[in-house]
């Protein structure tokens, strides 16, 4: 049989959890850009003009060689590996995200799961030639 005090406790916990989720969502959701830059306009010759290891790594587009491929920092990063020709071959969201080489299939040779992700050179002239 249910206990009213426990039910109240769980109602309160649900309310607190709901508020925390809402606050997190509002705080962490990307704001709509005022003047969005067309992705296709990214300079393909220098795809990594921005630094993917910076505090705002998502401002870089390591896939600019294929600018329309996807944004690795999109709202649904786990939907696929945006940089590869076989998107789902990477497992950025697997239970062991760091055990696989998310970029082994291809272009984005950054090692996002390494302890020192910036030790590879995703922004080299040939970014895709670095082993992921």
């Amino acid at each position: 049989m249910s206990d009213k005090r426990n039910t109240f406790l769980f109602g309160a916990a649900l309310a607190v959890a709901g508020a925390a989720v809402a606050a997190d969502h509002l705080a962490r959701s990307p704001q709509p850009a005022t003047a969005p830059q067309p992705v296709a306009a990214a300079p393909a010759a220098n795809p990594c003009a921005a630094n993917p290891c910076s505090a705002a790594p998502c401002s870089a587009n390591p896939c600019a060689a294929v600018p329309a491929a996807a944004n690795p920092c999109s709202v649904a990063p786990c939907s696929a590996s945006p940089c590869s020709a076989v998107p789902a071959a990477a497992a950025p969201c697997s239970v062991a995200p760091c055990s696989v080489a998310p970029c082994s299939v291809a272009p984005c040779s950054v090692a996002p799961c390494s302890v020192a992700p910036c030790s590879v050179a995703p922004c080299s002239v040939a970014p895709c030639s670095v082993g992921g």
Binding site: M1, S2, D3, R5, N6, T7, L9, F10, G11, A13, A20, V21, D24, H25, R28, S29, P57, C58, P72, C73, V75, A76, P77, C78, S79, A80, V86, P87, A88, A89, A90, A91, P92, C93, S94, V95, A96, P97, C98, S99, V100, P102, V110, A111, P112, C113, S114, V115, A116, P117
Partner: protein
Amino acid sequence: MSIPLSSTPAATPPRLSPDTGVVLVVTALFVTLPLLIAGAVSPRQAVLFLIGGLMGAALYHGAFGFTGGWRRMVQERRGRAMRAQMLMVAAATVVFIPVLGGLVPEVRAVGALAPVGVSVLVGAAMFGLGMQLGGGCGSGTLFTVGGGSARMLLTLAFFCIGALAGSAHLPWWLTLPSIGTVDLGKTLGVPGAILATLAFLGAVAAVTAVIERREHGALERVPSPPRRGLARLVHGPWPLVGVGLALAGLNIATLFVAGHPWSVTYGFGLWAAKAADALGAGVAEWPFWAAGGNARALNASVLQDVTSVMNFGIILGAALAAALAGRFAPRAALPWGSALAAVVGGLLMGYGARLSFGCNIGALFSGIASGSLHGWLWFGAAFCGSLVGIRARRLFGME
């Protein structure tokens, strides 16, 4: 699991008195939240939330958990629950391995693969010990929290803290010996991997049957349900084997929709990391959370994390099932010893899950079904840890 695994019904159907208020509130949430999630994130994420809801209802109505099932095998020599678990993994295996092996090109998905090493061995043993103290594994903690167990709320809180601590130390653990990822689908080929996995799962089931027959003379009879048809579907209990197959189907659905198998504990670590980061702990600078997908998850809305959204669904699905069964938030005493065990168990499970790349769901269920050898290592180590945990329960005044 802290609630009886056998879900043994009484001879006379118990009088049902669903918790109407809770049913209404949770039903309203199941109507509105998918719409909100679809709008805020994506329809796919809303579908995953609903899959989680079905998982929660199935877990609760079947009282389907690893903790109680393993303990029952050890203490009572009854293996019905373990055999249902093996059947569940087997059912997922026959779909996972071919899909992950690329035999279904339309489906792009990745498996729960992880390295076979010391971190898995130690982490899984810690997890096994912890789950006997905490009273539930990853999914067990979620569905019992959803059912309104105050004790499991304590376990969940410390599970999250333990997972955060594990994420702080994981880089060091990964420097210890490991043979790397072993994908049976690639090593043995798809047919070979399926046959080998099914053979091992069958062997485990057979061993439980032999032990049970030796102890009791016969396998346990499945008790007849207190109600049938629609009433049973709505109010439970559901048959253990049916729930195992349903969970296999839902894990397959997760693989197809999310692109990766069902996992639970990554979300716990993420929740704690977000909370710690909000408190100024600088979690974003930790190697684990500073890199790749983990950094993106930390910096993105929690609603964008597949595991978290499914966990929310599981909790609410279990809450609805518990309310329909008239058992939501039961009155229960929480002695100090039991509360302390919940704290210690939660910490051990959280830490162990991070080291071993998941829990009974992410590592054992999804790992083995994906053809990853680490799933088998996890199973063996966690069962050994569980043996210690069953003995350690007495230290906390638990049976």
